[in-house]
């Protein structure tokens, strides 16, 4: 009987346990992936499923022609280690490509990219 109670308790606990999805994946972005925005953003912010290592995580924002438009260092928010951001200055209308490369605190590296358009 104790074993049954133990297993049921474990299953119940597992249902309410948090999920990390094992490796940092992009959860959401601002500007949103594939979006058309106006006015232009002052910075690009990305939220990930795992906490990030600031020293090894970065975002680069480029024009369609490949010119770097992000300014300064990418930084992980001090109040939320899941959020990475970088400034972009003043963006004229056009298509922009966001390239990100992050290392989560468990040591796993992931990378990806997406575009957004400034109207």
């Amino acid at each position: 009987m104790k074993a049954v109670i133990g297993i049921v308790t474990a299953l119940a606990l597992s249902l309410v346990a948090p999920s990390a999805w094992a490796h940092a994946s992009l959860q959401r972005a601002e500007p949103k992936v594939g979006s058309e925005v106006s006015p232009p953003p002052q910075k690009v912010q990305l939220w990930f499923t795992e906490a990030l290592e600031p020293a090894l995580s970065k975002i680069e924002v480029k024009t369609a022609a490949g010119k770097l438009v992000s300014t300064g260092q990418s930084d992980v928010a001090s109040d939320d280690r899941h959020r990475l951001q970088v400034g972009v200055g003043s963006l004229p209308p056009g298509l922009y490509r966001v390239e990100w490369s992050v290392v989560s605190v468990d040591g796993h590296k992931t990378s990806g990219n997406f575009t957004f358009t400034v109207k």
Binding site: S14, L56, D106
Partner: protein, 265 residues
């Protein structure tokens, strides 16, 4: 998978086996100075090797030295690996004082749990505690078995270790089941979905090995232990069952490293 990734996986496996050995010698055994030396040197070298391999995996060509410095001194991974190497040095110096040695091994396991997926989640403390309990219970179980096996092979006090270990082993199994379920949920977000794809195959293999280990443990506990002092046949069978359990335990560690290295399907 690149050669570097395979090396990193192997290093993680040997690292975990070294922790089992540390638990075995500090909690259960009365090891010789030579064995302690070997286990501690492995426990010193492996975290440092993993640090170097981690930097090599992350570095672009020509950037290794810079990335190694960043990983070592600016990341949690580096802090944990350097701390673990220092802990192993302290253990080498203090292994005669058993309470201190046990405390150092526990700190080592707690440090390692800070590098799990759970510690990177939204509930990092909960995730780290769950993983720490899982690793600790696994090391106690495997360490106890390995010590009992060594005792029986050497005709020392294997039966006594096995008897004393039985209640602790049962507690370890209970902790492993609960924390194992929680770890799968933390890693995948959905226990049932975790059984899909390649991740699911490894998970099922790990569960099958675990179940087989439970079966062998039950044979030892209920069929062989009571005859262990009286007949050589029982000792021989117990040795075979323990050897089987220990080998399966090593396979479980290999599978656990594979699970923690890749995302669920």
């Amino acid at each position: 998978m690149a050669g570097l990734d395979i090396l990193a996986l192997l290093a993680r496996m040997v690292d975990l086996l070294a922790i089992v050995a540390l638990v075995s010698v500090s909690v259960f055994g009365r090891p010789s100075r030579r064995i302690i030396m070997i286990v501690c040197v492995v426990a010193i070298v492996l975290p440092l090797l993993r640090l170097v391999l981690q930097a090599a995996q992350l570095a672009d060509p020509g950037q290794f030295a810079r990335i190694l410095q960043l990983v070592a001194f600016d990341t949690r991974y580096g802090a944990v690996m350097l701390a673990r190497a220092v802990l192993a040095v302290l253990l080498l110096l203090a292994w005669r004082q058993r309470p201190l040695a046990i405390a150092l091994v526990l700190i080592d396991i707690a440090a390692l749990s800070l590098l799990g997926h759970g510690a990177a989640s939204s509930w990092p403390l909960f995730g780290a505690i769950v993983l720490g309990l899982h690793i600790g219970a696994a090391c106690l179980w495997l360490g106890g078995m390995a010590t009992a096996l060594f005792g029986i092979v050497k005709r020392q006090d294997g039966a006594a270790v096995l008897r004393g270990f039985a209640p602790l082993g049962l507690a370890c199994v209970a902790v492993l089941i609960v924390t194992g379920l929680l770890n799968v949920q933390i890693a995948s977000g959905d226990i049932l979905a975790a059984f899909a794809g390649g991740y699911g195959v490894v998970l099922i293999a790990k569960l099958l090995c675990f179940t087989a280990m439970l079966g062998l443990a039950a044979v030892n506990r209920f069929a062989l232990l009571r005859h262990l002092d009286r007949t050589g046949t029982a000792a021989h069978r117990a040795m075979l069952a323990l050897a089987g359990e220990t080998i399966l335990g090593a396979v479980v560690i290999v599978l656990a490293v594979l699970l923690s290295s890749g995302p669920p399907a």
